[in-house]
Amino acid sequence: MAFSIKGIHIPHRKNTAGMSAVRMLVPSMVTIPMAMHIGKPAKPIVKVGDSVSVGTMIAEQDGMISSPVYSSVSGTVKGIADIVISNGRRVSAITIESDGEMTPDDTIKAPQINSKEDFIEAVKMSGIVGLGGAGFPTYVKFATDKKIDTLVINGAECEPYITSDSVTMVDRADEILFAIETADKYFNFEKVIIGIEKNKTAAITSMKNIAAKYKKIEVKVLPSVYPQGGEKVLIYNTTGRVVAAGKLPADVGCIVCNSSTMANIARYIKTGMPLVEKIITVDGGAVKEPKNVIAPIGTSLADVFDFCGGFVSEPMKVLYGGPMMGIAVPELSVPVLKQTNAILALNEKETRTAKTTACIRCGKCTNSCPFGINPAAIAKAYKDKDAEMLEKLGADVCMLCGCCSYICPAKRPLAETNSLAKNLLMEERAKKKEVKA
């Protein structure tokens, strides 16, 4: 029997739907971290006092899985120092004072692409990482030696509030088509499937228009059930293929790219301008004027919120990304990252939750889990530090989508416990391997 991926219905709150992105004022200063991707941080190649322009490389790729970083403003390098990012990690960041001119780097030119290798190199040099939020360097996905037959474009956008992908699919449809055509030239996909939740009608229409121009493209309209945009969920719901725990999309012949990732690949291939700015949704009950904003990477969240009229009430929580999987930041000085697709300032009412009680064994967590694992049982096994049980329960299958925590009437932090359980399981596996070796 086919697996039935479950999920939950959550409020959509797409207040910015249909709002084209507006370019914000040039910030006076940007702080660009060297680690905006999964993998090794980039290595700075500028020094304090250097003049840079928009698109000037300021840090180079370091190692196999890494990504170069470019200046998002024109101006002067003011400092290279460690900052604390949202996960508490200290990373090096380059601070650039803007001259307000936004002069593009005059050495920038469109790359020559004549082969698959050229294409992968271009994606690498574009500085693009998975823009859906995970930040996995995009070129690594294309540089697989596995047989790839399907390109899946993620336009599900299942998180509440966020509309930046939908806006991109509407406003940058031609760029998405161009990126698909270029990639297809070298990969010769059997199919290109664009998966979009059914409530994003404008994005569906826009993508159906490009599908009419390129026959390999199929637009797959998906139910608006969270987490439709989860990579493995999307692959299953568009192709029927199962990516098991520890496996990658390439193992089932798929490459998955976010719609915004594709639009930005096109921009680099057409113009040579690397990833220096992002369309981000700015929303949440505490924000005065919710908007889709084009913000230079490295702009402080404070500057972006200011551009949206500031706050109507004191924010309780400020997030990178959506309320289901986003990361809460400790202060507003943190910068917009490559993979930032939204910044939200939630008020007290939006974050309100009932008191945590004992588990009442209602089963809502396991019944709403997309992958059918049992978070309540995992929580118990984690408490007992029972790695064997965690293995049996499939704790490593968890993608931390948060359905369990959301739905739990006892308000238990199930996703958080799953994350800890997953870590414990990985540590125990590593230990076992060591013993064997």
């Binding site: 809460a328 049982a377 006892a410």
Partner: protein, 308 residues
Amino acid sequence: MENKLHVSFSPHIRSNNSTMRTMLDVVIALVPATVAAVILFGLSALLVIAVCVISAVAGEALFNLAIKKEQTVGDLSAVVTGLILALNLPANIPLWQAAVGSLFAIIIVKGIFGGLGKNIVNPAIAARVFMLIAFGSMTKAVFPNGLDSVSGATPLADLANDKSVNLMDLFLGKCGGALGETCAVALLIGGIYLIVRKVITWHIPVAFIGTTFLFTFAVEGGNLETTLAWVLSGGLMLGAIFMATDYVTSPSTAKGKLIFGIGAGVITVLIRFWGGYPEGVSFAILLMNIVNPFIDAKTSRKVFGGKK
């Protein structure tokens, strides 16, 4: 303001349901049956209900104090236990017995096993069975005659002795039995409310009542009228809708719930026709509660990409 931002693990929004809201929904769902009990059995019903609920809540509060545990009466689960137990008792039960039953449910069945979510059998069911064995007053049915309730045979006993019963009376509750179990229509309204509010799913009540119906129909040689009389009598509706669906003591998945309901239905009919007691619903649920961990373990959901 900068350092006032809250930082925590995702998700950052939560559904607006809660343990308390869930329990409150069960109480709301029991309102029709409670009102019916008071109308049918009069003031004595109200007294039994009050005594059960108050002793359940007070028992939990004092037990928490005694073992120095955080107070949990606010989650309303003790109210639910007290109310459900009351609806399982006859109107003329001595009030001290009602109080003892309630305390047994809260302290012995739930409290010492670790409180909410930790009990292995449903507290109200276990208390009902305990009282059935301990107190003779439980075995005589009380008929709703306003304030002048009289004791006599239950419709189940009548059915067992091949006496005819009026189906409409059974549906409306004009027959002998415990306070809350006689009025089928009130219980069904409550059940529909719970399903609409997504507190319970249809699986257990439908499997339980459906199995009882089919099995009885076969035993009764295809006589629809007596089959319906059996289905509408005794504690089946109350048990199937409100007690067998207790989260803590029933399976989590749809498949598990169906097995649980079918098992309870089969045991109910076995006891009703061939057992020593006229009613089997309580024993059926109690027995299924005991095998629940096994059913739950065997019917867990398949994990995505898993080998199973």
